[in-house]
């Protein structure tokens, strides 16, 4: 599992393989605590963030998610997010970096649910809630700047790369009429406006609701 770490330079991180563990080992040695006086470069929290998103995603993909695992990952995500929000000078890994930890196209529903969860996170953080998960005007090549908009999680750009391949077809056979609800009425208006966006998948409220139901459905008594 843990292999011998190879000292890497900062710029090499951008081109590394997603499955490399050495990077993590290197990061592990550089503790994020303030007293890490002997550590080299500070830990880039965005990479941890991506990893956490991936874990969340993976955990949600399972038939019956392990609640403890999910809660711990979400809480870690919140910590990372809050620390990223506090660091305006956080290093900006270019766009390939956020993508690389994520493997081959994950299921679209899970991306949405993750984004829904992030949406919830941002709600909880008390930040602007009119920013729904998807309308992101900036092109993907622009590196996410956490300092600019603390409410918008940084690696959404990566998610949208994966979502841009028209997802409507995946949902054709799902009848979501039972799951219509009014939880996110603002999304109806927003999705109507995002048709022209290349990256906006135009997710419907019903799809979101279905996914939310999948999440919450296991938890209703």
């Amino acid at each position: 599992m843990l292999c011998k770490g190879v000292k890497r330079k900062r710029e090499e991180e951008e081109e590394q393989e997603p499955a490399s563990q050495d990077w993590w080992l290197e990061e592990a040695s550089s503790s994020p605590s303030p007293q890490a006086e002997a550590s080299p470069a500070p830990l880039p929290p965005s990479s941890l963030f991506n990893l956490s998103i991936f874990k969340l995603h993976h955990g949600l993909r399972r038939g019956e998610p392990d609640l403890r695992h999910l809660v711990l990952v979400v809480n870690t995500l919140r910590r990372i997010q809050s620390s990223m929000a506090l660091e305006p000078s956080a290093p900006e890994p270019p766009s390939p970096a956020p993508v690389s930890p994520l493997p081959v196209v994950p299921d679209a529903p899970m991306c949405t649910s993750v984004s829904t969860l992030l949406d919830d996170l941002s709600h909880i953080e008390g930040l602007s809630d009119t920013q729904t998960a998807f309308p992101e005007d900036a092109p993907l090549s622009r590196p996410p700047e956490p300092g600019l908009d603390p409410g918008r999680p940084a690696p959404l750009g990566s998610l949208e790369i994966l979502l841009e391949d028209g997802l409507e077809g995946l949902f054709d056979d799902i009848d979501t009429s039972m799951y219509d609800c009014e939880l996110w009425p603002n999304l109806k208006t927003d999705s109507g406006e995002t048709e022209d966006k290349t990256q906006g998948p135009g997710l419907d409220v019903s799809e979101l609701d279905y996914l939310m139901d999948v999440l919450v459905g296991t938890q209703t008594l």
């Binding site: 843990l2 292999c3 563990q21 605590s33 941890l48 019956e64 403890r68 809480n75 709600h123 999440l215």
Partner: protein, 602 residues
Amino acid sequence: MRGPGPEARMGVGGCWPRLPALPLSSPPLYRPRAPREVVGHFTEEETEAGERPPGPFALPRKKLRRRKRPRARARWPACTSRSCIALPSRGSRSRRHAVREPIARPPAAHSRRLLSARRRRAWGAAAAPEAGREPARAGPAVPGSRCRGGSRASVGEGAGGGNDIQWCFSQVKGAVDDDVAEADIISTVEFNHSGELLATGDKGGRVVIFQQEQENKTQTHSRGEYNVYSTFQSHEPEFDYLKSLEIEEKINKIRWLPQKNAAQFLLSTNDKTIKLWKISERDKRPEGYNLKEEDGRYRDPTTVTTLRVPVFRPMDLMVEASPRRIFANAHTYHINSISINSDYETYLSADDLRINLWHLEITDRSFNIVDIKPANMEELTEVITAAEFHPNSCNTFVYSSSKGTIRLCDMRASALCDRHSKLFEEPEDPSNRSFFSEIISSISDVKFSHSGRYMMTRDYLSVKIWDLNMENRPVETYQVHEYLRSKLCSLYENDCIFDKFECCWNGSDSVVMTGSYNNFFRMFDRNTKRDITLEASRENNKPRTVLKPRKVCASGKRKKDEISVDSLDFNKKILHTAWHPKENIIAVATTNNLYIFQDKVN
């Protein structure tokens, strides 16, 4: 038969519905039956001339009143086997066992026959010839009283950690090859209250029980070996059609009930369902039926010319496991703990968000005593990770959380124990803060000491011992593998940081033990403050080989015989360990093997 009335509902106040008395004239179970043979239970004066002797089930109860011996009332469905008259009886030791005459003594060659002696010893009857060979091992008899106030601490011989114990390899169970079948992964290990039986549960839903052989003269230098006593499939994979989810059959926990009669009882649970299993022995069977051939076929009554009385004859020992209660449909989330109360009538089961209280006799209802589910699931930040009843106080239990807190609750305070009586939490060390602080503070196991004064919690890197009278910090903290603190990021990436290690006390509460990676396990002596790291591996597996202490080199120059952190195998983890309640015998589970170690006996 009338069931409990509408007033017998689950409700505030914790009033268990009274079971209705069995009506004396209740008809037998509606099942077509051949005429019954009676085995052994009647005496001549109970039968009138020419009348058929009463059978165990068929006739109205009032006739049975003529019996001189009081009959234990069957509380749960009677065994339907025609030859079985061993009705399960709760409560005090049934006298019928003592009255029944022992049959021709079985040959003593088979070591398992000694079980008869064990049973008689437990029953206090006249000592069998084997009694002389039984070890004079003092152990407190299992108390039958409710809600014991006294301490259960048993100071058996050698159960202590004062002097350095030398641990020796004793046995290993399981497949040798490295290819681990998923179903063979051991998921729980538990000794029973006497230590004679050792139960393991695996991912395939099976329970395997090992029994310790009685010591005999030829093996004075080691305690008895553990051999397979019974194997049964406890849980099967299920499919929840409502949610389209499969329910794993993996056994999450096994807990033994104290022994009250000849049979053994244990609770085993998977993610959703708890089952009470009865493990009983049968070493005699009735022979000589009048209407039934030996192979079970029925004879034509007209061909019967003489009558004979069936008698018991010895047979090869058979150990049967039968599910006696199934406690299902009470948990929405995954059950992580079960714990039997000191009143031996109730037990709790805990899942991620709720804890339920059950009565061992009642399967169709349970009380919810803790519920931490938020109204809005988006606000969920904490889950329950373990729960346990206090060993002496039947109203007290604790539960631990994923945030590193332990809450002690008193069921006398309110029906729903959402508000804790005590909250045990250690303030976070600011110098060790990281993104992973919460994950590594998540408690994976909580265990009370046998005395009931202390409790031990296991989080990712340490073992903490708490005094129940002090809530703000633990009284002792032992680092299990502090060298992993700098590797938390990698361990987060490969998910090892979420591993749930268990911990256990020894019989005298002087030594605690827990597992680690690379098949290492650690023991901490609370008195001498010394600790030791040992490895469970098949190398050096000759019995009575003393285990060599291992050492992990955190950084710097690696000394000889030390192993560096980067060489540790994180796939080989010891999550489950158990300590014999009276002796220095430990059971350590690697992924699919069970190791048994004993201290060196001179």
